[in-house]
Symmetry: C2
Subunit: 621 residues, 2 copies
């Protein structure tokens, strides 16, 4: 039987407890995201304050984590009730934290309750220690990691740190968890949850080897992935240009959100592209644990104004959109530094960038006298002289420090882009379920409209990455401006597939090259010893997706929508000129519900029964 | 009898107590700085931790405070044991806090003990209230004042706020107390003392009228000051160009500290001068309470990068040196924004600028490979990508946020410029008694060497402002490059005079136009009813200066010195090329001791007896 051990940390009393997860539960949810959201739904009481001690933070590996090299099995999944949305919160992070967590003895760490004083926690080969975090409280994630490694005498420079910055401490709702200085579990405010528990950081290290039940089958599964990835052109593209390879691609189809989602193309796209980064700033590539894709960028800058440590991690595509095109900022060196500072402060670059974009639009309206006087006065007062003008990096830099500290305008921006827009009466935010959208304009990529609207954690590109078929042609090429029932099915299936992928846990980037559930059967069967099939992988994913939806329904789900800007305002430029996302939702959402077996966005009793989720029937009654 | 009431606030128990100061004590120390340092010496136990509950913070008015207009009687004096030097700490601040404090009912507020939770305190017409400061803990002084005024329903937009920023909360040793967003009790770390007591801010307001015992004589004294100031050319200069009128003047004599005190002239001086500020950035002038000089600058900027609220306070000369010439930064708009941010963070711009200057010199040495490897690695790690290069504003901006939060390199810079230099083994700081020097190079203005070395609170231009005679010709013009015994006497006398001026309290800028103790006899006699003479004013000042020295001797005074850079390194440029400060101290210090009645910097028993300070004889035994 596959061993899956959780370390439950009771912070109220600084007591720890080991818990073996039974195989029946595992087979229903695999691990990672699936097990995390299942436990969250069972254990976090209805109506719990996301920043209160009743919330729990699940930091999860999966059975595949840290088992083999050649594909990416180094990611970590984090789950809790989201302070940003009040719904299911979960976020997936690259790097090598989860492998080190497994090596330290645990497939998952669950933070429960709340520590009275700030602590950081070390877990080394099964030994758990609590350390005083006062010397690093208020500090950035970079100094925190430096301090922790300096303080620990026990080990080498190995092991992994997961930390929050000031943003998490101050319960900023866009606070991220940061690992290795730059790897982020960014979305849904997981950093604020850890901060609310007075936990600054977790360090994990050890030499336990993860179990593989059927080695032969496992190796067959690994070889399949390894070989397919090795020669694939997408691997080459990601390796050469990182995720920012998408800047030019998405700009060309008019789907690069620009100037707070008022345009779909950015004239300076080339200057912030992965190609430009590779040409001028790339020092070397860097993969997560065991990965041969190596989409990570280690970069340098030249400007004295925008310094970063040589070889520190460069910005991802999402960040380049969020603090680049969406702010009309075409200075890649500034973006590299800003990304570095945002990681240090522990902020989700996507939500932060969208918040700044809303602020820049507000500031433009303020300058034109279009904000009511009382609100205009408040805005001026809270800006305290800052001039958030399109394309201007310094105010963005200061806002990073201000949002993390909830200072001045940062107090309002700390609630997220939607809250900022609402506070100043500006219906100008691109969001779904209270979380602002990532870097693909759904008016130009229709299936993304459905993907965003139906994402349980709020506007997200990673629950279904419809870009893969709409733009990249994986597994088949569709027309991004076409609206169809078939696409609704593809979105649904991708959501289910990805839910299993996030539970094994492997990286979704593997699926660009190994896009079929079949590609993962030997891997999962090998590591667990289960006689699993492709159908079961899809069914498990569907079960997970329904559990998340149940969580939302229980907490008062606002439903599957996109905000007004995307529905009513047509794109004024590019290949998608004149397009909105209205029709996409009108056509695809009913079909999607049909495929899901949902009624008005809520799973039916039949669906729960089919998926073995009867224990949650009380939620839909 | 003159009424002088202290409000003693016991923070441990949130209890308050009024205390009338007896007239005998008042006559010996007047009020303000004099009474504050006397009480500090009596009440703060020897060896007390400056950041512990045993330290006390005295926030003082004087008998002249808030009594009449036409000269400056609006300043506040703050006294405590200094966390920066471990010696007497005291700082004098413009604006209108002390008048409002008197109007609220008190000549002084004494913070004692330590609050368990962060609080802010309101004092309105004698009524003291404690308020929860958690909603503004971690925030800047600007937002804190905004929040406090919004929270208080009781009053109009009058009243005064004295607040700390994150720097004070984090016990940064260069933390300032900030009033009205920009008025600073900056030096000696008084902000850290308030922070150590968990007090975020104090609000004072009321309508009590300060007492004037002999109105007729008082009015005579007021008229004398008013008339002399009104027509004086120095008033005109200060009104037209602010304190920054000094940039060009001091640069011309080669005494403008540049590039961390390695030069005495700055090629971009004109660009950061008061004249340039007046021409391009001045909105209007602004005086402290009742003052007709109006040296304060209300400014604007144009650049989107360096915004400030239109009409916010511009930088003083000291700040322009500290973050301008001393960093070779010639961008006045950047300096205006940096000043604004430093005030918001609650940092002393002088100590901060000197710390950054040391850091820039360290960084230059690092780039040349001149730092030992282990220290070089630590410095690189703590800089986390920042490139503090001469003349580059962005790293300075980020350092303001980092020092205030003790983050990364800020952890070391938070201890002051001297500590930073020592940590990295660089003998490159300009300091006396552990406090870094202000904007006059003592190699080019010899009497300033003595003034700095003998300043009880550490390197300071305001304990004796020898610049007045060495450069401005007040009351007589001396040759700044000449070393003489007569100058030692002038420094001693100015120190005594200023100690009384700081105790009445009036602004030293009055003394540019009314430079004789005689000018203040009617004023002080009128307000107090005392038959005071010019000689007594000088004797009181001398008594105060000796009390401060006794405080230092008791705490382990490092003595009257200037750091190596000023003694051994000759100026390479300007009219003072080839000069050091060595001879100035060698010649003038012994003479100064003679005039003071001190032996090796320590008051003799005879001196204490002459000044009526026998109660402190135990210190010198």
């Amino acid at each position: 039987m596959v061993d899956f051990t959780l370390l439950r940390i009771n912070l109220d009393e600084q007591k720890v407890r080991e818990e073996k997860v039974d195989e029946k539960t595992l087979r229903k949810f695999i691990g990672g995201r699936g097990l995390g959201v299942y436990l969250a739904l069972k254990e976090i009481p209805k109506g719990a304050d996301p920043l209160g001690p009743e919330n729990k933070l699940y930091i999860m590996a999966g059975p595949v984590t840290g088992t083999a090299e050649g594909f990416e099995a180094g990611r970590t999944h984090v789950i809790a009730k989201s302070p940003l949305t009040g719904l299911i919160g979960e976020s997936n992070m690259g790097g090598r934290f989860a492998p080190w967590m497994r090596f330290s003895g645990y497939e998952g760490i669950v933070l429960e309750g709340k520590s009275e004083e700030p602590v950081w926690i070390s877990v080394i080969n099964g030994e758990v220690k609590f350390h005083d975090a006062k010397p690093i409280w208020g500090r950035g994630t970079h100094y925190a990691e430096y301090y922790i490694r300096k303080t620990l005498k026990e080990g080498p420079k190995d092991g992994g740190v997961l930390a929050i910055g000031p943003a998490g401490e101050n319960k900023v709702k866009l606070a991220a968890l940061i690992h290795a200085g730059a790897r982020a579990a960014g979305r849904t405010g997981m950093g604020a949850v850890m901060g609310s528990k007075n936990v600054k950081a977790i360090f994990v290290m050890g030499d336990r080897k993860p179990e593989i039940v059927d080695k032969e089958r496992f190796e067959k599964g690994v070889k399949l992935l390894k070989d397919k990835i090795k020669t694939h052109p997408i691997r080459k593209a990601l390796n050469s240009y990182g995720t920012a390879v998408l800047v030019n691609i998405i700009n060309e189809i008019g789907a690069l959100p620009t100037k707070n989602w008022t345009k779909g193309t950015f004239e300076k796209a080339e200057a912030i592209s992965g190609e430009h980064m590779a040409e001028k700033y790339l020092v070397k590539t860097r993969g997560c644990w065991g990965c041969q894709i190596e989409c990570g960028r280690l970069v340098k800058t030249y400007s004295p104004e925008w310094g970063v440590p040589e070889g520190s991690k460069g910005p991802e595509y999402e960040t380049i959109f969020a603090i680049g095109s969406n702010l009309e900022l075409g200075n890649l060196e500034a973006i590299i530094r800003l990304n570095h500072v945002l990681n240090d402060m522990g902020l989700d670059t996507i939500e932060f960038g969208n918040s700044v974009a809303v602020l820049m639009e507000l500031y433009e309206r303020l300058s034109k006298g279009e904000i009511p006087q009382d609100k205009a006065e408040e805005l001026q007062k809270l800006l305290d002289g800052l001039r958030p003008i399109w394309g201007t990096p310094n105010p963005v830099l200061e806002l990073a420090y201000k949002v993390a500290r909830r200072d001045g305008i940062g107090e309002i921006m700390a609630e997220g882009a939607k809250a900022l827009a609402e506070h100043f009466g500006c219906d100008c935010v691109a969001e779904a379920r209270g979380m602002s959208l990532p870097a693909y304009d759904p008016r130009a990529i229709k299936a993304m409209a459905l993907a965003y609207a139906t994402s349980n954690r709020g506007g997200c590109h990673l629950r279904a990455y419809a870009v893969s078929f709409e733009v990249l042609g994986v597994p088949v090429k569709t027309d991004p401006l076409e609206v169809s029932v078939e696409k609704a099915k593809m979105v649904k299936e991708q959501q289910d597939f990805f839910a299993s992928i996030d539970s094994m846990i492997v990286c979704k980037f593997n699926t660009f090259m190994t896009p079929m559930p079949e590609d993962y059967v030997d891997l999962l069967a090998g590591v667990t010893g289960w006689d699993v099939t492709a159908e079961e992988i899809m069914e498990i994913g569907e079960r997970i997706y329904n559990v998340e939806r149940l969580f939302n329904v229980r907490e008062g789900d606002p439903g599957d929508y996109l905000s007004r800007r995307l529905i009513e305002e047509a794109l004024p430029d590019g290949p998608a000129k004149g397009e909105t996302a209205k029709k996409a939702l009108e056509v695809m959402l009913p079909a999607y519900y049909e495929f899901r077996g949902w009624k008005d966005g809520v799973p039916t009793a039949e669906t729960l029964k089919r998926l073995g989720l009867q224990e949650f029937e009380y939620i839909i009654q």
